[in-house]
Symmetry: C2
Subunit: 324 residues, 2 copies
């Protein structure tokens, strides 16, 4: 399978690493808006994004590695006019609209697109679906973290006097334990997660004011118990340069006579690198997109529409013998 | 969707309960080898198993609730000659052979069969497949328990002097923690699980001999650290009448430059009732079998071949809006 990587930031580099772990995947080209001469890949050719159409016959699936806020809503429908595509669009509320746009473009051009692939949306979504289909009389819980939230880190960085910052989302142990026990508690936003910020203040900045501004920031922090630590730029670089993330999806439900039996389904991810793991999911689903396209599937799909066997390099016989 | 329940033991009763939780599912008939007059259902009609062909036009999917040792290898191919079927065949080593038999019968008769559905094989298998497709450079671990193993309980009951017994399979915490930390240890059988037996001895039986016989039993106990507790029949009935089970599927793997980033995927089930939960999985997959048959799929499939969306009563639009 020949893939293209459209966008070469953290996620695009993760796709490059993940492709190297899959012997049936070859990178036909990396497309960047920067000057290709200044972009160093591990070996795959680097082309200007503007030239992408020249390579349309060389690429089975284009993996679009852009941001959800402004890149993907434009890039994915546009590229679906000429390529099979896959993206990691993760603005949950706008998924129906994004799906419709990609579906229209891909259907008209005779291609296949798969949107919102990664771990949430993605593997977490699959677990929400499987678990709720199996336990209809139950409740879903999703917790995130411990991990770096880029959006929240950016929000802190925009505060006057802040030179740099890193924000961690942390699930509350007591809430996890309550759900894990099979209870179906109603949990408020504050009861589910706390937020921890590591902030490098500019020289002479009013730290008390920065802390107050963070803790009272609506949408981002005001509904949470937030802890703020002021550290040096060196400490930030040394201790907080990674992009770990993860979380939990639970479903607890009841079956049997008068719902007498409780069941707990728990799915947990603990990821050293959010972008590299997301990229690994994208590669597996790119394989499925290639296969489904070859069988005649067109338009837009999501992880919900993909039979698991299509993700694996193993044959159906090998899967039944060794994974079932 | 109209289902039939073929076999009315613990699993068949579980299917009956699970059907009541799904408003799109109706039980067209329960088929039993016992005298139907002596079988009390919660409301669905009960028929002799021998009359099953009379109802072939009334049933969309037949859920076969038999044992894997001798029932399903015969029942599933036989019923697939006249019905869409689903079973929970769980003898892992014989899955390829069972698949071939059901595939032949269903293909020839123009039906669809789904075999080996439940939690292991079933939901655990899905997690092994998804996780290995996403993290090709990694290792799989499956742990079972804490839960009742019927096969091991039966093996203890066959020992002379044993009136009744219950055997629990227990995963070893230290092994779980080692895997959960992201290591990829080589674990022996003994390091992964312990076995705990509750035994009711017959009056005058030689308890020391019973304990020795259990602990030295090849295949079942000799490779494990086994604990034997002698209790009264009343204690067994009071404290060990349930059929809890569950377990863990892990994959730990590495990504990135020189595999520098570790990832842990953990899936856990904690089930008060093994047969009721298995039945709940069967109902969700029976829905998928009905839909796939309606779209023209024939022959035999497994959980690996089913797109997750086919399991849910929600529409694709609802799934994308609320579960993705």
């Amino acid at each position: 399978m020949k893939i293209g990587i459209y966008g070469y930031g953290n996620l695009g580099k993760g796709v490059e690493y993940a492709a190297a772990q899959n012997s049936d995947v070859e990178i036909a080209g990396i497309f960047t808006k920067r000057d290709p001469a200044c972009v160093k890949s591990a070996g795959a050719p680097v082309y200007p994004a503007a030239d992408v159409l020249k390579y349309k016959d060389d690429i089975d699936v284009m993996i679009i590695c852009g941001g959800s806020a402004t890149d993907l809503p434009v890039m994915s429908p546009e590229l679906a006019k000429n390529f099979n595509i896959i993206d990691s669009f993760d603005t949950h509320a706008r998924i129906p609209e994004h799906f419709a746009n990609v579906d229209k473009a891909a259907s008209e051009s005779g291609h296949l697109g798969l949107i919102s692939c990664g771990w949430d949306p993605g593997l977490f979504s699959l677990n929400r679906l499987y678990a709720s289909a199996v336990l209809p009389d139950g409740a879903d819980y999703t917790f995130w973290g411990t991990g770096v939230s880029q959006g929240h880190s950016d929000a802190v960085r925009r505060i006057p006097g802040v030179a740099d910052a890193r924000q961690y989302t942390v699930p509350v142990d007591a809430a996890l334990e309550k759900v894990r026990s099979g209870e179906t508690p109603e949990l408020s936003t504050r009861e589910k997660h706390t937020r921890v910020c590591y902030v490098v203040a500019e020289e002479g900045a009013d730290k008390a004011l920065i802390e107050k501004t963070i803790k009272e920031m609506p949408n981002y922090f005001s509904d949470y118990d937030t802890t703020v630590h002021f550290i040096t730029a060196e400490e930030l670089a040394r201790d907080h340069s990674g992009l770990p993330h993860g979380g939990f999806v639970f479903r607890t439900g009841r079956t049997g006579l008068e719902g007498g039996h409780k069941h707990v389904i728990e799915y947990r991810l603990a990821l050293d690198s959010n972008p590299e793991f997301t990229a690994s999911v994208l590669i597996a689903y790119a394989r499925a997109v290639g296969r489904m396209y070859a069988r005649g599937r067109r338009g837009c799909v999501t992880v919900f529409d993909v039979a698991p066997a299509d993700l694996s390099p193993l044959s159906p016989e090998e899967l039944r013998a060794h994974k079932l």
